[in-house]
């Protein structure tokens, strides 16, 4: 066992960070925040395709890099850190299944149940993961679907200014979609969950940095606010959440086992949402403004927390897993005849 990043993985991460900063600098992020309605940047999508974000795991003969889920997780962590817009996870999963997805010439969004779908109006295809086999709704039917949704919300009502949402009250019937028999929806769902968790992890790490940077320079009562324990402890808990989520997400990328994946999503969601809130708190009044980037992280974190495995779904699945886990022994006699004899000593100094 060696649960450290390899040299290549470290390099991949730092190169990716540099690339995303160049492709999507802060000014570009703020432009997309102010853009009215659907203003999807297809040029950026193409560049992300060129960078291999979508094709990464395809075999080399199909234009991919033949890398695996752990490497994809490193890229998606950086994407979350940079707040890259668009249905990144869905298009990545569609690479190799939907023409153009791997290259970034086709924008694919995805859902696994009725509810909000991101970037539905600009997507070229909708990937449906609601059964044993994935199925695809191509662009032609997609516009029909949008028109046929009387109670769909206006896309600009999305809480996240960079992610337009449409509400799908029900999913399109099978006769309107094309089945994708060569893939298993359960596997794609696990991967979608891990890759979404990876973005949450990246966001959590970024808001931690933003909070610490601010706490070092913002002065009140004649000292940096980071010298006050109340602020220090907020920041310390942000680091603890990030590192616990990191261990869970990286492990899930290696095993792809349902309990590891559920734990990763649950803890990464928590890290992203709570770190963004603590970052906002450390920034004080500034944190409550539109100009600060904190709210963009928080809103995207809320959005991703509602995707795939939500906290309720993850916790419920993990609970069921406890009963299924054959490693746990059956319940012992609960009363101990010897009196108080804890499994572990009360105190150790």
């Amino acid at each position: 066992m060696d649960f450290r990043l390899t040299e290549d993985q470290r390099l991949l991460r730092s190169e990716t960070r540099r690339l995303f900063t160049a492709l999507f600098p802060r000014e570009r992020l703020r432009q997309s925040v102010e853009a009215v309605g659907e203003d999807f940047d297809r040029a950026l999508w193409r560049k992300l395709g060129d960078a291999g974000l979508f094709s990464l795991r395809l075999p080399e003969r199909d234009g991919g890099a033949a890398l695996a889920l752990p490497e994809a997780v490193l890229l998606f962590e950086e994407a979350g850190r940079a707040l890259l817009p668009g249905p990144l996870t869905a298009t990545h999963l569609a690479a190799g299944l939907v023409p153009g997805a791997a290259e970034g010439t086709c924008v694919v969004t995805a859902v696994d149940r009725p509810g909000p779908a991101e970037h539905l109006a600009t997507a070229d295809a909708l990937l449906l993961l609601d059964g044993p086999r994935p199925r695809l709704l191509p662009a032609a039917q997609l516009s029909g679907l949008l028109g046929a949704l009387p109670d769909s919300t206006d896309s600009t009502d999305s809480i996240d200014p960079t992610t337009p949402l449409h509400l799908l009250p029900r999913l399109p019937p099978p006769d309107t979609t094309r089945p994708i028999p060569e893939a298993a929806a359960s596997r794609l769902l696990l991967e979608a969950t891990v890759l979404t968790a990876a973005q949450q992890l990246g966001s959590a790490g970024r808001t931690l940095e933003m909070a610490v940077d601010h706490a070092k320079v913002r002065t009140q009562f004649g000292r940096p606010i980071g010298a006050f324990q109340a602020v220090q402890h907020l920041c310390a808990q942000m680091l603890v959440r990030t590192e616990l989520a990191r261990a869970a997400v990286y492990a899930a990328s290696l095993t792809a086992l349902p309990p590891d994946v559920a734990a990763a999503k649950l803890l990464a969601d928590e890290a992203a949402v709570r770190n963004a809130r603590d970052c906002l708190q450390v920034h004080g009044g500034l944190g409550f403004t539109w100009e600060a980037d904190v709210h963009l992280h928080l809103k995207r974190a809320w959005l991703r927390a509602a995707q795939w495995q939500t906290a309720a779904r993850a916790e419920t699945a993990l609970a069921e897993e406890l009963l299924a886990d054959r490693r746990s022994v059956p319940p012992q006699t609960i009363v101990n005849p010897l009196g108080r004899n804890p499994e572990r000593p009360a105190n150790r100094q």
Binding site: A314, N341, N347
Partner: protein, 391 residues
């Protein structure tokens, strides 16, 4: 990045597992909680069994009597032993996890030869004399004095929260040897024989009802200078080696134990109907995530330690242990709060194992550095925030 055993690791795990399978059924049952001589004998016999099978001091250096294996092998031992339901390190805790590693890292050849083999063979038990009534989180405020008198120190003062003091042979003692020096620079680390004249042990009763720890009064206790580990007045640095061990891998086996407990909790809830409550189920599911991730964090920390060890750097766990300790101690408390919900009114029965564990878990956010101190350490040493302490 991988989580798989190498062929050597798998082979080691396999042999260990079959040894545990053969050996554990032959062990006597655990003695009563407050029968300290019997508990000492029980814990030492288990250590002796480990020693004879070649599993004692697995990750200690060979020149310290260990097997010279890396931290990863030790983790496999902790994982498999706990999974198989082996006895806990118990009375051996301080010797094996604190004092021993400190002596191995900082002691002379003669000191290693004197103290380490009896620890590994389960013959001598150690306790820890660091905290004092007026020096808890602020350890450097300690006042127990050691005055040089020829080839000895005369030590006077008092120590508190000393686990296993009543059955220990030796005490790792932190004392003030230079009262005129700045607080951290006037301390020394001594090994004190517990049977020396002038040592008085007064057991303290914990809120769990156990007599786990004690107050230790020292009245002109004569300790040979040869019992000092490290240089005179360098005791702060020497003791920090110990504390970072404590926060490193000391709790790794317990995470495995907590995961087993969680499985039992779910089954107990299913048996008594508490499982019908969706809120409780979600609570147990969240704890499953928590302990799954904590185990992954242990694997990450030990992988770092293994790398340092292989590249010949110091094998002392870093401040990252604070991240683990902070989250683990709270998770453990949450686990037994959930256990109380599963038990329902029966949780008020003090004879229940889980009730006793619920009580003992309360110590975890205090012992080995309070949660507040851990957060200070993380903020200042990892995040680089300015010091908030009064100077």
């Amino acid at each position: 990045m991988n989580l798989d055993d190498t062929p050597e690791e798998a082979d080691f795990r396999h042999r260990l597992r079959s040894w545990l399978h053969r050996t554990l059924p032959t062990l006597p049952p655990a003695p009563a909680a407050d029968d300290w001589p019997a508990r000492r004998a029980h814990d030492c016999a288990w250590q002796r069994a480990l020693y004879e099978a070649g599993y004692a001091g697995l990750h200690w250096p060979c020149e310290a009597g260990g097997q010279g294996a890396g931290p990863l092998r030790h983790l496999i031992l902790l994982e498999e032993a706990e999974q198989a339901g082996a006895p806990y390190v118990g009375a051996g805790f301080v010797g094996l996890l604190h004092a021993g590693p400190t002596i191995a890292a900082e002691g002379t050849a003669a000191q290693r030869a004197r103290w380490l083999p009896p620890i590994l063979r389960g013959e001598e038990v150690w306790c820890q004399g660091f905290s004092e009534p007026e020096a808890g989180s602020d350890l450097a405020a300690l006042r127990t004095r050691a005055v040089r008198d020829g080839d000895s120190y005369l030590v006077t003062g008092s120590k508190i929260w000393t686990s296993h003091a009543q059955i220990a042979d030796w005490c790792e003692l932190l004392v003030r040897t230079d009262p005129s020096a700045p607080r951290h620079r006037g301390l020394s680390w001594l090994a004190m024989p517990m049977n020396a004249p002038g040592v008085t042990v007064r057991p303290l009763r914990t809120l769990a009802g156990s007599t786990e720890f004690a107050e230790v009064f020292l009245d002109e206790v004569r300790i040979p200078v040869s019992c000092r580990v490290g240089a005179e007045n360098d005791g702060w640095r020497v003791s920090m080696v110990t504390l970072s061990f404590e926060r490193g891998t000391a709790f790794a086996g317990e995470v495995v134990a907590c995961r087993r407990t969680l499985g039992r909790l779910a089954r107990a809830a299913q048996a008594n109907g508490a499982w019908e409550d969706a809120v409780l189920r979600r609570r147990l599911g969240r704890l499953h995530a928590e302990f799954t991730a904590l185990w992954r964090l242990v694997q990450a920390n030990v992988s770092e330690a293994e790398h340092s060890w292989r590249s010949g750097e110091s094998a002392v766990p870093g401040v990252g242990g604070s991240v683990f300790k902070l989250r683990y101690s709270h998770a453990r408390q949450e686990l037994y709060e959930a256990a109380a919900e599963v038990l329902g009114p029966l949780a008020l029965d003090a004879r229940r194992n889980w009730t006793a564990d619920r009580l003992s878990a309360l110590a975890y956010t205090i012992a080995a550095g309070t949660s507040q101190i851990q957060q200070n350490i993380i903020a200042e040493r990892i995040l680089g925030l300015p010091s908030g302490r009064w100077r």
